[in-house]
């Protein structure tokens, strides 16, 4: 980049009022049609969730977390509960473990459905924006049947879960999942099978596995490079049921560029994530035992926690989501809480991925990384 090219550059702010920048702003320096510099800015979505956690007790704290990212509410609230369960000794019943896992995988499917629509909408196909969102309504209906709320579900609680599965809920979940399974080939045709989609995404937003590791990417963004890095397998939470069944980490290997990924690979990776989630739910439902859904002493034990540190983490839809808690003896609230969202890394990696791309490719790049501003601003 010679300095005289930059003389003709102009600066465009992509956000915070931009229609497809919901709660973030990137400063783009463009020369002609090409972006030469991308400066992602955080801070437009800050709601001081960490400070809020210091004023909530150990059963309320998870409700702050699910408001950070409502698309994956079950997954977002879980790290806090895992951290609490690390500090205090609770016996989570077998049934609750499996129910938590099922709901988390169900929520992962719902979040990815939302993402398909958003991504396709950013690439200019509104049919594909609305079709998955119509299907998503069935998932939301099932959530509502189980917990009474569609987005901020607050389902898991330290020591178990809050509500038991009802036959009506099971029927609704089956409807929703059957719809997902039936429509997968359709969406596969409309996304991966569409020639215009391939034109827009292939070779766009390209990075290697080494770069991804260096930037701290996780979740589908790194699995798309062929690295089977998945917390569900690598560090299974003792209070989740991932180790009870046999399943495989979803990883795609692109023959043309092994160890690298572009926007199209990341789409295929997310398709595979859905298949894996469906598989896990299918295998967990038959082994769901009868029994209690919560440790009977959970309520009294979580009023005041012993002094200690807890670190809970889970493989979210967008990557590793974790919460670190520091508690003091006889305190009703955490002394300090730290949230580590998956999207800070993917958002700031735009700085390295975007330069050299065309301006029109920018939505394809950030859409394929699936950044959600709640996760970096908290």
């Amino acid at each position: 980049m010679s300095p005289d090219i930059l003389d003709e550059s102009s600066v465009i702010w992509f956000g915070p009022q931009h229609v497809s920048a919901h709660g973030w702003a990137a400063k783009l320096t463009i020369v002609g049609d090409y972006i030469v510099e991308c400066d992602p800015n955080a801070g437009y979505f800050h709601r001081s969730a960490e400070k809020c956690l210091e004023f909530r007790n150990f059963r309320q704290g998870s409700m702050i977390l699910e408001r950070i990212c409502m698309m994956e509410a079950f997954l977002a609230e879980y790290p806090y509960i895992a951290a609490v369960e690390k500090i205090v000794d609770l016996e989570v019943p077998e049934r609750a473990k499996i129910m938590r896992t099922i709901m988390m995988e169900f929520n992962r499917i719902h979040s990815l459905q939302f993402w398909w629509g958003q991504f396709a909408g950013e690439l200019g196909l509104f049919v594909m924006l609305l079709w998955p969102w119509v299907d998503r309504e069935y998932s939301l209906d099932a959530f509502e049947e189980l917990t009474g709320s569609r987005h901020t579900v607050s389902y898991a609680t330290p020591g178990g879960v809050k509500y038991d599965f009802t036959p009506k809920f099971l029927a609704k979940m089956e409807t929703a999942l059957k719809l997902v399974k039936d429509r997968m080939p359709v969406f596969n045709d409309m996304l991966a099978g569409s020639p215009t989609f391939r034109l827009r995404t292939e070779g766009v937003g390209h990075y290697t596995a080494k770069q991804a590791l260096k930037w701290g990417l996780s979740g589908p963004n790194i699995k798309a490079c062929g690295i089977p890095m998945d917390l569900r397998k690598d560090d299974p939470d003792p209070n989740l049921a991932y180790d009870l069944i046999d399943w495989e980490v979803p990883v795609i290997n692109n023959e043309e560029h092994p160890g690298e990924s572009d926007a199209f690979d990341r789409l295929l990776q997310r398709f595979k994530e859905i298949e894996t989630s469906l598989d896990i739910i299918e295998k967990l439902l038959p082994i769901l035992p009868e029994g209690p859904i919560i440790d009977p002493k959970a309520r009294s034990k979580t009023n005041r926690l012993p002094e200690g540190e807890g670190y809970g983490r889970v493989e979210g839809t967008r990557g590793v989501t974790s919460v670190w808690l520091k508690t003091m003896a006889k305190a009703q609230t955490p002394w300090r809480a730290k949230i580590r969202g998956p999207c800070f890394a993917s958002y700031y990696s735009l700085k390295h991925i975007v330069p050299g791309a065309r301006f029109a490719d920018f939505p394809a790049i950030f859409g394929s990384l699936d950044p959600y501003p709640g996760w970096w601003d908290r």
Partner: protein
């Protein structure tokens, strides 16, 4: 009584002479006064002078009134000539302005409804039956909105350009042959026959559209608008040539550049049967030229907010929104004219009904195609148009040339009976 400009002008000289004489008298009266100056006598003449001024003023008013009455009479005389009256009726009411506006309103509803069905929605539902009045409600809302003109905008241009764009887009409708008789220009019995080059004229007028998009983007004083304006110019740059060359095939088969003659030549066979690839290239190039969905880089909302329309608000946005739909309607009508036989069709239906049915079918195709593809990048638009559409359309022209020369029964078939 007919107003004659030359007679009227001939009186001008007398008037000038009269004014000069009056001035002369006014200047010379102190010198022409005889005898000692009698103030009262002089003062007594004042009344005559005032009266003279009033008479002069009355003359002017009188003349003006007569002139206006004459002028109105003259216009009324022109209008009351049967052929003139029918022309005006056609231009303003039936296939003209009011018809086009009503069709435009229907088209917007039709588009939104079909888009909604394709997207698993219901579309407008509440205003009127099946949401038929939704557009009126939208129009009232948009017109009553505050008009915000950016500080950096060139205000005068910003105000005038959207309306000019709509006018330019509406003009070519005058050349569309809707019916054997009910046309604005082009019915054989009217004193305003179709121009022999109306096809070329339509394209010539439409070339101005991207200029307006670019100018609106330029004068809006926003970077998003400017980028959108350049992208609109880029789209037209890509799509114009394939589209014009695709329309050469029908013109060659009919042996005429007049749209009316091209339709009249399709009484035996519609040209879509002979030129299906030409139809498709024209269709794709038309979508690219309008700049709707697969080719909507000029207004790509996820990239440049709303492209060259970003800063438009209120009535200016309404006008530009209408212009886009009018352009789609125009291209659909051109496709019906060039490839689908225009008003030829079922013999027991009126020509305009035949035309309208085909028009709706083509518009339906438009909507289905515009809602099935992802947005192409602007370099991919040029790539598609110049690497695929242009060679195909040129090949078609060559094939038509050879076919006309070497296939014996073709010429009588394609020039109509």
């Amino acid at each position: 009584m007919q107003f004659d400009v030359f007679t009227w002008l001939g009186g001008l000289w007398d008037w000038v002479i009269g004014v000069l004489l009056w001035l002369w008298g006014f200047l010379m009266w102190p010198f022409l006064w005889e005898g000692p100056f009698d103030f009262f006598a002089w003062f007594g003449g004042l009344w005559d002078w005032v009266l003279g001024i009033f008479l002069w003023l009355w003359g002017i008013v009188n003349w003006l009134i007569f002139w206006v009455v004459d002028f109105v009479n003259w216009i009324w005389f022109l209008v009351s000539l049967p052929e003139n009256f029918m022309f005006l009726f056609r231009a303003i009411v039936f296939p003209g302005l009011i018809f086009i506006l009503l069709a435009l309103i229907f088209t917007v509803w039709y588009t939104r409804k079909i888009w909604a069905r394709l997207q698993d929605r219901r579309g407008p539902m509440h205003m009127g039956k099946y949401g038929g009045l939704q557009l009126f409600a939208d129009a009232i809302k948009l017109m009553s909105k505050e008009i915000i003109i950016p500080d950096k905008a060139k205000r005068w241009m910003y105000r005038i350009l959207p309306s000019l764009l709509l006018v330019i887009v509406m003009l070519p409708f005058a050349f569309i042959p809707w019916d054997p008789y009910w046309n604005i220009l082009g019915s054989p019995t009217s004193p305003f026959p179709d121009l022999s080059v109306s096809l070329v004229l339509v394209f010539a007028i439409l070339t101005a559209v991207p200029v307006f998009s670019l100018l609106i983007g330029w004068v809006s004083g926003s970077k998003y608008s400017l980028i959108g304006g350049f992208r609109a110019a880029n789209n037209q740059f890509a799509a114009e040539i394939p589209m014009v060359i695709s329309s050469v095939g029908p013109a060659m088969l009919a042996g005429s550049l007049s749209l009316y003659s091209i339709v009249m030549a399709q009484t035996n066979i519609w040209y879509i049967v002979l030129l299906p690839i030409n139809f498709i290239t024209f269709f794709v190039a038309a979508i690219a030229s309008v700049g709707t969905f697969p080719f909507d880089a000029p207004v790509a909302d996820s990239e440049i907010i709303f492209g060259w329309r970003t800063e438009l608000s209120g009535i200016y946005f309404t006008v530009v929104y209408f212009a886009e739909f009018a352009e789609q309607m125009l291209y659909s009508a051109l496709m019906v004219t060039l490839f689908l036989g225009g008003f030829n069709g079922l013999p027991f239906l009126a020509g305009i009904v035949n035309f309208a049915i085909k028009w709706l079918v083509v518009f339906f195709l438009f909507i289905v195609v515009t809602s099935s593809f992802y947005r192409l990048r602007q370099d991919q638009v040029v790539h598609l148009c110049w690497k695929y559409l242009l060679p195909l359309s040129i090949l078609n022209v060559v094939l038509v040339m050879f076919a006309l020369v070497y296939i014996p029964g073709l010429v009588p078939l394609v020039i109509g009976g």
